[in-house]
Amino acid sequence: MSTIKINIVSSSEEIYSGEATMVYATGTLGELGIAPGHTPLLTGLAAGPVRVQNGTEEEAFFCSGGFLEVQPDLVTVLSDTAERAESLDESEAIKAKEAAEQELANKDASLDYAKASAQLAEAVARLKTIQKIRKNQ
């Protein structure tokens, strides 16, 4: 089975480097599935999971945004922050989501609406990643 090289890096460390038969990511325009030999593609990444499939094995990462470059034999994920999905804590994510929702509900108070909704989107994306892994297990 043919494979494609994948590198996931964030500004403070290298997260993952290896081979994959299929890569799934959340682009700004929707979900992407990348198989080996994909045509060159450059896209932004939305907050969400990046899943790397190699045969039957699968690893998931959480990515809060960044860029994705595809060359026929190479995928590069330039993530703003990326975490291994195992290190994500569901209770923390739910807490963050609730806090963000509360801030949004308090709209009239003098707070940064855009910032709060960005926080909410990130918390929801983290939760989605966690839940997706749960389903796969």
């Binding site: 890096v9 500004s11 060159p40 932004g44 470059e69 590069t76 330039l78």
Partner: protein, 287 residues
């Protein structure tokens, strides 16, 4: 001739200074390890984004980005990366000298200069030297957050977009090894176009999602930010290495001084004893 009490006091004061410098040397040595690790952790990202950028440069993009555009330069901006604290030898001043030299060289060609400064030392230096300062970022700490630099980078890129500046230079110390730091002044904008390889398949372009303009704007901004961030963490590693060496030299010099002073102290003491003896002998002979 100096008296013994004075010399003893001087020795004591130098000894306490030596204790401080040797403690600072040890602190710098332990921090150096950490800052070097941070520097190495940041490398994969900057290498990968460089790869992507070079691929982008090879693609026949439908949208030529302004960062690649060569304008007739009228004004250049220097992003100067320095340390927040002193006592690190000639690290900062060597860099500033290069910046000033480059700025003077551009001035002869009729290009004005302005400065975006990172670190307290640069801010202090350019305040006393004069020169137009457009942005300052200070007190980033040993583990700088990339977010703290976005503001400063944005100011520079916005000025470039508005046509206020035509060139940007990144000035920082490169880490060669613990003993050597190399001050560098590199051109940031316009980005040097990659050499197109003859063998590379011609006529291809990316699929851009969403728009090429939006995407390349974001990507190239991120690229510049990552270069600045990498320069800052590399400069941090340089600072600790230079500080360690400077403090080691200070400790050694203090040791030499103490040795000399102890010799002097013994001389003075001996002279005093000899004089006393000869006085006693002289006194006894007179009786």
């Amino acid at each position: 001739m100096a008296n013994t009490k004075e010399v003893r006091k001087q020795i004591a004061s130098i000894k306490s200074t030596q204790k401080i410098t040797s403690a600072m040397e040890m602190v710098a040595a332990s921090k150096m390890k950490k800052t070097q690790d941070t520097m190495l952790e940041g490398r994969p990202y900057s290498l990968k984004i460089k790869d992507v950028i070079s691929h982008v440069a090879l693609a026949n993009s439908e949208y030529p980005h302004p960062f690649y555009e060569e304008r007739t330069p009228k004004k250049a901006c220097f992003i100067v990366v320095s340390s927040d604290k002193g006592l690190c030898g000639g690290l900062n001043i060597n860099l500033f000298k290069q910046v000033i030299a480059k700025s003077a060289e551009l001035n002869e060609q009729g290009i004005e200069s302005c400065f975006a400064l990172i670190g307290t030392k640069a801010a202090g230096f350019f305040k006393s030297v004069g020169g137009q300062v457009i942005a300052v970022a200070e007190k980033l700490g040993d583990k700088p957050n990339p977010d703290d630099l976005i503001g400063l980078t944005k100011v520079v890129l916005d000025m470039h977009k508005n046509g206020d500046i035509d060139q940007a230079y990144l000035c920082s110390n490169g880490f060669v090894n613990t003993m050597t730091q190399q001050p560098n002044v590199e051109q940031l904008i316009p980005l040097a176009p990659e050499e197109k390889e003859e063998s590379s398949p011609t006529q291809w372009d990316y699929i851009y999602e969403p728009e090429a303009k939006e995407l390349l704007d974001g990507l190239l901004t991120r690229y510049i930010e990552s270069l600045v961030y990498q320069a800052v963490i590399e400069n941090n590693a340089c600072e600790q290495a230079a500080k360690m060496i400077a403090m080691k030299n200070a400790t050694d010099n203090a040791g030499d001084l103490i040795k000399e002073l102890e010799l002097l102290y013994n001389n003075v003491r001996q002279a005093a004893i000899t004089q006393e003896l000869s006085e006693i002998v002289g006194g006894a002979a007179a009786v």
